[in-house]
């Protein structure tokens, strides 16, 4: 789960990381009131869960209270990469002297949380990694020891941080690591961490991604989920315990198992089609879940054909067939279905579906080709 900048920075602040004074607003009038309280100049920052807000014009400095209201009027309601801006963070503008990058990620290869620092703050770290990888300094943290001060110093020295900031930097690094661990993050990033004209370190921008698998023990973080930011179909799928990701194609896919679901998308593409979604109904799916999955798939108006690929193990083909029938009987289905059922109780599943008007397939390749043809309106 991705957190907004303001949410991430508020968490960082709890761990002793200095952030600018700021407040969240949803109307230009509120922004004006905040600017009056904080004093100008201020920065108005769109809060949407995509990168590249600055380039899209979603972050602007305002020198006066009038200016702040005007800028807020431009930013609120604007579209950034398909997301509408509904709220902004209004921060005191900082007197920036130096921009640094500091981030924590889970390094899969080392099986450790790794802290990364770079003197190239304010730009995407992936870009720094590509162009000047030597400018990224990393330390791996042992899970039983936590981040040690000497490791923070290694980062500071590695990026050439002036000695007078070492102590403050160590405190920020320790805070970031602790925030990462306590909140079960996948990523926690301060970019940029700036040195101000007054010689202070301040986290100007913040980003946190939380491990979905750990949300069960973080009700406070779950409460931060922003429904406006979520695709409606994806939200419904999540409520039914389905893994669903909406894509751009025309062939809706319902598959059991994540790997098989990806492979099904791949083979659709191989035969000239485009998957409309990734959907894993999971192991042992009930008829209700299958029916919900089809409802989600069919809510996407781009879908011109549905491909159902089930390899039964703990999932029973007859149960899947019942779910498909339930969906067909309750929804107004206008697109062709291609069904492939293999494994546990496949005969019973096929028998149940025989009366419904569906295209059946034996192999995965056969199913994909028939789905691609059906989506083009050809008779398979």
């Amino acid at each position: 789960m991705n957190l907004h900048e303001y949410q991430s920075k508020r968490i960082f602040a709890k761990y002793g990381i200095p952030i600018p004074n700021g407040e969240v607003a949803t109307t230009p009038a509120e922004v004006r009131a905040i600017a009056e309280r904080l004093g100008t100049p201020i920065v108005v920052k769109s809060q949407v869960l995509v990168g590249g807000r600055g380039k899209a014009g979603g972050i602007k400095v305002a020198k006066s209270v009038d200016d702040a209201e005007a800028v807020a009027g431009q930013i609120l309601g604007m579209d950034i990469k398909g997301l509408t801006v509904t709220k902004v963070l209004v921060d005191e503008a900082a007197d920036i002297r130096t921009e640094i990058y500091l981030g924590a990620v889970l390094d899969r290869a080392q099986r450790r949380v790794v802290l990364m620092a770079s003197s190239e703050g304010g730009v995407e770290i992936e870009e720094v990694a590509r162009v000047t990888p030597e400018k990224i300094i990393k330390v791996a943290v042992h899970p039983f020891l936590g981040l040690r001060d000497y490791q923070a110093l290694q980062l500071a020295e590695g990026i050439g941080l002036p000695k007078e900031h070492m102590k403050a930097f160590t405190q920020v690094a320790r805070g970031l690591y602790q925030a990462y661990v306590d909140n079960d993050a996948n990523l926690a990033e301060i970019n940029p961490l700036v040195i101000t004209g007054e010689g202070k370190l301040v986290a100007l921008d913040g980003k946190m991604v939380v491990d979905d698998s750990a949300l069960f023990r973080h009700p406070d973080l779950v409460a931060m989920r922003d429904p406006e930011e979520e695709d409606a179909a994806e939200a419904e799928a999540r409520e039914h315990g389905l893994n669903y990701i909406n894509l751009d194609g025309e062939i809706g896919c319902m598959v059991n198992g994540a790997g098989l679901a990806m492979a099904t998308m791949d083979i659709v593409k191989f035969y000239g089609g485009n998957p409309a979604n990734f959907l894993d109904v999971g192991g042992g799916a009930s008829a209700d879940k299958v029916s919900a999955a089809l409802r989600v798939i069919l809510s996407d108006k781009k879908v011109k054909a549905v491909l159902i690929n089930i390899f039964g193990g703990i999932t029973r083909c007859d149960e899947v067939a019942r779910g498909v029938l339930e969906a067909i009987n309750t929804l107004d289905v206008k697109v062709p279905f291609v069904v492939r059922l293999v494994g546990t109780n496949e005969e019973e599943g096929r028998r149940l579906l025989a009366e419904a008007d569906m295209i059946t397939a034996t192999s995965l390749a056969d199913a994909a080709q028939k789905a691609v043809a059906a989506a083009k309106g050809e008779n398979a």
Binding site: L106, S213, R217, G259, L260, A261, A263, I267, F270, G313
Partner: protein, 290 residues
């Protein structure tokens, strides 16, 4: 011969009293696996499904029954404890089916396991099977047949798909190993490839990877430098968008790293066959035999 599990495998099921635990215990017994004990704190002394004796701790189970392999099917909140307990009880092979264990818990578990001699398979995996000998997993046993093709995979159902196609062609399997779809796991591709390379019963290997991480690229380097047996591979997720987690916690392309394309390139360069879609895998394996 085979790898990791055979007729000498003695299984203790952690979570035997749960619905899934009881079901898969019966399935494993029906396949011929020696399930010798179950564990459920507070129910020691009772009997589980098919009269398998239940113990309060793994240690008790090991002492009483000589169990050497653990099958873990408990909720994600207790799975980390279950793995560590199994390792402390002297279990050699720990197979963890449980999905959605927080990644930072696995960081700790793995760091601890590295100080013991226990091997963990998974988590978030279907387990493993040596056809005709033992099944320590949740896969449907009947689609497998004994033979000489070793399989190692990050995905469950995709493996079943491939096994089904192999069996349909009369091509048997030595052992099929699911290493799981999580970013931090106990056993990786290289561990299993090395075992297959050394296993007399395995003549060729299928490796099924997916997007996310760099394990397949490292496996490619291992194949190039250390494998004499032919390897056929497939990478799922060629059409996956970057930055989205595709069901498996580990299946995510981040910062442009972990794409199917780079993995397929690395495997091709290492001399492995790379299938473009799953139906090609069995065909390529058959070509190695004829």
């Amino acid at each position: 011969m085979s790898i990791l599990v055979d007729t000498n495998t003695r299984v203790v099921v952690q979570g035997i009293t749960g619905r899934q635990g009881a079901f898969h215990t019966e399935q494993m017994l029906d396949y011929g696996t020696q399930v010798v004990a179950g564990v459920r704190p507070g129910k020691g002394g009772e009997w589980g499904v098919r009269n398998v004796p239940i113990f309060d701790t793994v240690k008790d189970a090991v002492e009483a029954t000589g169990a050497n392999t653990s099958f873990i099917i408990v909720p994600e909140s207790t799975a980390p404890d279950a793995i560590i307990e199994a390792a402390d009880a002297g279990i050699d092979l720990i197979v963890c089916i449980t999905e959605n264990i927080p990644a930072l818990d696995m960081v700790k578990v793995r760091a601890y396991l590295d100080t013991t001699s226990a091997r963990l398979l998974g988590p978030n995996c279907p387990g493993l099977i040596t056809p005709g000998e033992a099944k320590v997993g949740i896969m449907a046993g009947h689609i497998h047949t004994p033979g000489n093709v070793g399989i190692v995979s990050r995905s469950g159902t995709l493996t079943y798909e491939v096994v089904y196609a192999l069996t349909a062609r009369g091509i048997g399997q030595s052992t099929a190993v699911g290493i799981g779809g999580d970013p931090i796991n106990g056993t990786n591709f290289i561990d299993v490839l090395q075992m297959f390379e050394e296993d007399a019963a395995t003549e060729q290997v299928i490796m099924i990877g997916e997007i996310g991480g760099t394990d397949e690229q490292k496996a490619a380097a291992f194949i190039r430098d250390h494998m004499s047996k032919p390897v056929t591979s497939f990478i799922a997720g060629q059409t996956a968008p970057p930055g989205r987690r595709m069901g498996h916690a580990g299946a995510i392309i981040s910062g442009g790293e972990g794409t199917a394309e780079e993995k397929m390139e690395a495997l091709k360069a290492a001399g492995a066959k790379v299938a473009r879609h799953p139906d090609e895998i069995a065909e390529m394996v058959a070509q190695n035999i004829s």
